[in-house]
Symmetry: C2
Subunit: 174 residues, 2 copies
DNA sequence: CAGGGATATACACCGAGTGTATATCTCGCG
DNA sequence: CGCGAGATATACACTCGGTGTATATCCCTG
C-alpha cells in the first residue's frame, strides 16, 4: 500500500527511528498485515539514497544503537504532492475473478460452480466484517465498511456474470 | 494478476511459445495492461525450474528459433487447485484512500478537500467506463461493470467517511 | 538487395516482500 | 549477584514481479 510514501508521511509528523516507524505504521495502517522490519529498513535506505530523508549517525540511547531519520525538503514536497493527488480509479480493468471465470470457460470447467463457491466465501467474509464493524472502534468500522462495500460490489458482479455466463462462453470461444 | 497461474492455464489449453502466450494473455486479460515480454520469459523460466512446465529444445521454424512449452502433471494439478479455490475476499483491510485520509488528519491537512478531489476523479472515470460498457463487446462490458461497481463502492465509502471526518480526526489524534 | 516491420528470446536492473541473524539493554528471579 | 527471557533495534540475503533494452531471424516491399 505505498509504503514509502506512508513512511514519509509519518516522518513528516516527527523524526523517528525505523523501529518506531514500524510501530506507528502498524498502529495506524497495519490492520491484519503488520509491516515487516526488513521492508522498513530497505525502504528507509532507498528514501535516504534518493534524498527524501537523511539518516542521523547511530546513537547509543537507552537500548541498542539507533539511527534517527529526518525528512528533507525534497521529501516533504514529494509527500505533499502524493497526498493531494487522487488515487487512479480502476485504471487497469483487471480482476482475478474475471480471469478465473474466463479460464474456466476456455478450458471447459464449471464456471458457475466456481462463482458459487466464490459467492459463499464472500458472504462468509461479509459476516466477519459486519461483526467487526459492530464491535470495533471507528477506525475499524470504517475499514470494515470499505471491505463490505467492495464485497457487495463483487457479489453484484458475480450475479451479473452468472446470468451472462452462456453469452460470455460464446464470445470467449469465438 | 497472478500471471504464473494464468499462463499455466493458457498452456493447459495447448502447448505454446512465449510469444504466443503473450498474445493470448493480452487478448483475453490484458485490457489496458499488456503483459511485458520480460515477464513472460522470466515467469516461464520459474515455472520450468519448478517442474510445472517443460521447455522443448529451440526449434528453427518459420521465423526465428523458438521454444515450445508444455505443461506437466504437476502444473495441471496446481492449476486445477487454484482455479477451484475462491479468491480470498478482502483479507487485509487496507486501502490507499484510508491511508491518505488518516495521514491528512494526522498532519493537519484538509482531508475533506482530498476526499472531494477523489470523488471527482472517480466520477470522471465512471463516465468513461459507462461509455465503454455501452459501446464495447460483452467482455469489455463485464469488466467495465466490475470497475463501476467498485467505484460506486468507493463513492459510498467516501461519502460515509466525509460525514464521519470529525469523529475520525478525534480518534486518530488520541 | 536494402531495410523496415513482425516474430521471438535473453538479460540486466529495481522495488517490494519475506525470513533470518545479530547485538544491546532491561528486568525479574533464584 | 548473575543469568536468561523478552523488548528494542538494525542488517542482510534471497526471491518474485515488473520494466526496459538488446539481439537475432525471417518476410515483404520497393
Amino acid at each position: 500500500m505505498s509504503v514509502p510514501l506512508t513512511l514519509l508521511g509519518l516522518l513528516e509528523r516527527e523524526p523517528s527511528h525505523g523501529y518506531d516507524l514500524k510501530r506507528d505504521y502498524d498502529a495506524f495502517f497495519g490492520r491484519g498485515k503488520p509491516l515487516p522490519y526488513g521492508q522498513v529498513y530497505s525502504t528507509l535506505g532507498r528514501l535516504a539514497r534518493d534524498g527524501k530523508v537523511v539518516a542521523g549517525e547511530a546513537e547509543p540511547g537507552d537500548g541498542p544503537e539507533r539511527k534517527r531519520y529526518v525528512i528533507t525538503e525534497a521529501g516533504v514536497t514529494e509527500f505533499e504532492h502524493w497526498l493531494g493527488e487522487p488515487v487512479a480509479p480502476e485504471p487497469t480493468l483487471q480482476s482475478v475473478l474475471f480471469t478465473k471465470v474466463v479460464l474456466a470457460l476456455l478450458l471447459g470447467r464449471d464456471a458457475e460452480a466456481y462463482l458459487d463457491t466464490q459467492r459463499a466465501a464472500h458472504l462468509r467474509r461479509m459476516r466477519e466484517l459486519t461483526e467487526l464493524r459492530r464491535t470495533g472502534p471507528l477506525v475499524d468500522a470504517l475499514l470494515a465498511d470499505h471491505g463490505l462495500f467492495h464485497l457487495e460490489a463483487d457479489l453484484r458482479w458475480i450475479d451479473l456474470t452468472t446470468a451472462r455466463l452462456d453469452a460470455l462462453a460464446a464470445e470467449v470461444r469465438a
